[in-house]
């Protein structure tokens, strides 16, 4: 920590050395009596040039020195108190702070004979506008999504919760990136234990860079090796606002539109924002469909393998004969067939994510024609398997959150293999292990499977079916009392 020198030349030399080979740093000095008395340093592209010109250069060049309302000891104080019409103006005492603030896009003003630097917050850079979140689109509700700029994101939440109890604690994480992370919560509603746990963990993070919120997500999780994520991510400010009101905690990270929400349960992965925007009767149906489809996406390949190869007596006779007929010429065992098709399906999915948009249709053609039809016609894969795998794939897409589908994808493989080896016994073992793991899992003190295990009758209302809002608010109780 070295202090800023009184000598402007020394300071300039230090900055020029520090910013050596940084072509986007601009030095602008002003001379008085052939002697440099004033130095402006800023990062080109990160500052509003218009603001510098209007608010700093114009008064400096055209107006001349101020007359003064009071006796001023230094030139720097003159600038600060009488000259620069800026709201956010402060002084730095050390060279490190100065360098840091310049890199953040502020304007550094150094005056000869003054041991402090004036920092004017004039930063401004190109950002993406607020757009509809593509990954989590809803049929009804807000079309706003988070952007990369954290200030915009905080304002998106503030616009929804107009209450002083909404707190936003700021943290800076990352040695090189110096990323701003904001811990948002509702004071009095959020659990203090969760808050202190998160605060403690945020303080312990040692990272060179925080590029995305996923970097801190992994630091925060208690069970890093669990396949189930214990933190939800979202780009919808309305989901964050709703979660904050429910007493959850949100983390915003600069540079990414994805906010983190914690603690979460298993079921929050299966709930969509639309569940709260549609009439509750239809939501009940939709949720039912979603839960059934989730089970299908998890278990159908395993069940097919177990039933058709170990317990053919459990399938209705005509269906079983149909399956046998379709499988008459298949060269591979059912397990291998299912595995091959699942692998190809996931491969296609992965290819579809990375492909440029223009090539998207190519993948679907290859997938549908080459692999689907040709494999069946060539007799490599039997038709029931195609049906099973495509149904599984469609079922997986009913899960609203993408990151919630990933564990199911993995479990699907494991269940399928163990069912292929041991039949129903294996399937049962797989499900039991999965349930044991889920019951043991906790997300920041909240049991992952709650309110099912441990059972909570009042909260289960919002899990399986969504009650109308007025029941949840307890309004009907008041009505009855009247």
């Amino acid at each position: 920590m070295s202090a800023i020198s009184r000598n402007l030349k020394e300071n300039e030399a230090f900055l020029r050395e520090r910013f050596f080979n940084c072509s986007d740093i601009v030095f602008r000095s002003f001379a008085l009596n052939d002697e440099n008395v004033l130095l402006l340093v800023y990062l080109d592209g990160m500052t509003r040039l218009q603001g510098i010109e209007d608010n700093i250069l114009k008064p400096l060049i055209f107006n001349g020195l101020p007359q003064g309302i009071d006796r001023l000891s230094t030139l720097a104080e003159t600038f600060r108190r009488e000259w620069l019409p800026l709201t956010n103006l402060f002084t730095d005492e050390t060279q490190e702070d100065l360098v840091q603030h310049i890199l953040q896009g502020n304007l550094g003003i150094l005056v000869d004979g003054d041991a402090s630097a004036l920092i004017a917050q004039v930063h401004g850079y190109e950002t993406r506008g607020i757009q509809e979140p593509k990954k989590e689109s809803t049929l009804r509700g807000s079309k706003e999504g988070f952007v990369e700029n954290i200030r915009t994101n905080t304002s998106l939440i503030r616009r929804r919760i107009i209450h002083p109890d909404l707190k936003m604690e700021s943290y800076t994480i990352g040695k090189f990136t110096q990323t701003e992370v904001i811990l948002a919560y509702m004071q009095g509603i959020a659990d203090e234990k969760v808050l202190s746990e998160v605060r403690g963990k945020l303080g312990k993070i040692e990272l060179n860079g925080v590029i995305e919120s996923a970097y801190i997500e992994e630091w925060l999780e208690n069970n890093s090796f669990s396949i189930f994520s214990q933190i939800q991510n979202t780009e919808r400010p309305d989901i964050v606002a709703a979660s904050l009101i429910e007493g959850k905690v949100a983390l915003l990270t600069n540079g990414t539109p994805f906010a983190l929400i914690l603690p979460i349960t298993f079921w929050s992965g299966l709930q969509s924002a639309d569940d709260y925007f549609e009439r509750f009767v239809f939501v009940i149906l939709n949720r039912f469909i979603r839960y059934v489809m989730t089970f299908i996406s998890l278990a159908l390949p395993a069940l097919y393998v177990a039933l058709s190869t170990f317990h053919p007596e459990m399938i209705p006779s005509s269906l079983m004969i149909g399956i046998a007929t379709a499988r008459e010429n298949s060269p591979f065992p059912s397990v291998m067939e299912v595995f091959i098709m699942m692998f190809i399906f996931d491969g296609l999915q992965e290819a579809g994510v990375h492909l440029p948009n223009q090539l998207g249709p190519v993948v679907s053609i290859i997938g549908a024609l080459v692999i689907g039809q040709a494999a069946v016609e060539a007799g490599i894969i039997s038709t029931p398997i195609i049906i099973v795998i495509s149904l599984t794939g469609i079922a997986a897409y009913t899960i609203p959150r993408y990151s919630a589908t990933l564990p199911f994808r993995l479990v699907r493989y494991l269940l399928m293999f163990i069912s292929g080896m041991l039949g129903f016994v294996g399937f049962a073992f797989g499900i039991i292990f999965l349930l044991i793991h889920l019951v043991m899992l906790e997300s920041f003190g909240t049991p992952y499977l709650s309110p099912v295990a441990p059972f909570d009758g009042r909260r289960i209302k919002d899990m399986i079916i969504r009650y109308p809002f007025w029941i949840k608010n307890g309004r009907n109780k008041k009505w009855r009392q009247r």
């Binding site: 058709s308 190869t309 170990f310 053919p312 007596e313 006779s317 079983m320 004969i321 399956i323 046998a324 007929t325 379709a326 499988r327 008459e328 010429n329 298949s330 065992p333 059912s334 397990v335 163990i418 292929g420 080896m421 041991l422 039949g423 294996g426």
Partner: protein, 385 residues
């Protein structure tokens, strides 16, 4: 630590896959038995025939209906079903699977010359047997012949008979029910009887097909005591409380024209005339009648005629059913389950009866009463003039 965990996982996978993957049987390694036939052989053994589906013949929708067979019948002789089945298995390239069986066919000859109870022990004891299938009796011909028959609509004769029985509302004649009945003391089993008859499909072709020709009443030793024809068996099934649908056509009093009814909501009630003195039993049959055909001169929109017809139907049914009841009593087989009913109502009385119920059943005087209510006379009143 990591190393040992990894090793454990690898070994576990190897153990599971090496032991587990030999257990599974792919559907194309299975031979699905759809029907089983049991025949008598003179040397005291039995001949078991299995009707087995050929899946590859079923795949094409149109082509297979012609010449090629969609099934094969394999038979073998043995002292028991299991021994014979094992012999069949040795001839097969696939594992014989009986869980999808729809039908058990037993030839009449077998039940006459052998102890049927021994056969059903084999069907009951092995948990691999699917007791949802239907057991039928083949009259006249051997069960093997029956299994070899082709059906003009269905691909397999077993499937056709299974469907035939289901469509006609006789779902309660599963092997499970048969075994329950044969083990109960107060009821004797009824067995559907199939007969092979020639059937003219079109002007060129005539093929034999199996048709339901009645029900066989078996006694405690599973010997056939008598065979009821289709009308009589319908009455017995109703009186036994197993029916759901009954159709009758009766001529009108003056002999001019007929009346046809569809009867639904079939019920029966058994009660004793003098409390604990169970010499005289009244069996009441109850149903709702819907008039379907009326070729008499009666105008059914007249309330008097309706009452008259209702009364007449009751009398006719009472008469008809009484005859059938007497017939069954003469055979000494309580297929109606009167004994079982009385067993539940008068357990102490039953203790004295159960040992020779077949004999006692004959002595009980059963009166059939009928309580048919005419629900609908259809859309027209009298005859259209």
């Amino acid at each position: 630590m990591t190393r040992s965990v990894l090793l454990t996982i690898v070994f576990l996978l190897l153990v599971l896959s090496s032991s587990g993957c030999t257990d599974f049987v792919e559907p194309n390694q299975l031979a699905f038995v759809i029907g089983t036939g049991v025949d008598h052989v003179e040397d005291g053994t039995m001949e078991v025939s299995q009707q087995i589906v050929i899946p590859s013949q079923l795949s094409g929708q149109a082509e297979s209906s012609g010449n090629s067979n969609s099934f094969v019948v394999m038979s073998a002789k043995g002292r028991g079903i299991f021994e014979a089945s094992q012999k069949i298995q040795k001839k097969m390239s696939r594992r014989v699977m009986t869980s999808h069986r729809i039908l058990n066919a037993i030839s009449e000859e077998f039940l006459i010359k052998n102890d049927g109870r021994k056969l059903f022990d084999k069907l009951n004891r092995d948990p691999a047997n699917n007791l949802r299938d239907i057991t039928v009796l083949i009259k006249g011909r051997s069960a093997k012949d029956y299994l070899m028959l082709k059906h003009p609509i269905e691909r397999l004769s077993s499937i056709s008979s299974g469907k035939e029985l289901q469509i006609n509302g006789l779902r309660r004649f599963s092997t499970r029910q048969f075994i329950l009945d044969s083990l109960s003391e107060g009821i004797r089993p009824l067995l559907p009887v199939l007969e092979i008859k020639d059937f003219k499909e079109n002007d060129k072709k005539t093929d034999p097909i199996a048709v339901l020709s009645g029900f066989a009443a078996l006694n405690k030793k599973l010997k056939v005591k008598g065979i009821l024809d289709v009308d009589e068996s319908s009455a017995v099934i109703w009186m036994a409380g197993k029916g759901s649908f009954h159709a009758i056509t009766i001529p009108w009093k003056n002999g001019k024209g007929i009346l046809a009814f569809r009867l639904t909501h079939l019920q029966r009630r058994i009660r004793s005339v003098h409390g604990n003195d169970l010499k005289r039993i009244i069996l009441t049959v109850k149903a709702q009648a819907y008039l379907i055909e009326n070729t008499t001169s009666l105008d059914m929109s007249e309330v008097d005629n309706m009452i008259e017809v209702q009364k007449y139907v009751n009398e006719e049914i009472q008469k008809e059913f009484q005859i059938t009841m007497n017939k069954v009593q003469q055979w000494e087989t309580d297929v109606i389950g009167i004994g079982e009913h009385l067993h539940r109502k008068y357990p102490y009385w039953w203790k004295a009866q159960k040992d020779d119920w077949d004999d006692n059943f004959k002595k009980v005087q059963v009166t059939v009463k009928s309580n048919i209510r005419l629900k609908s006379v259809g859309t027209s009143g009298g005859q259209i003039k």
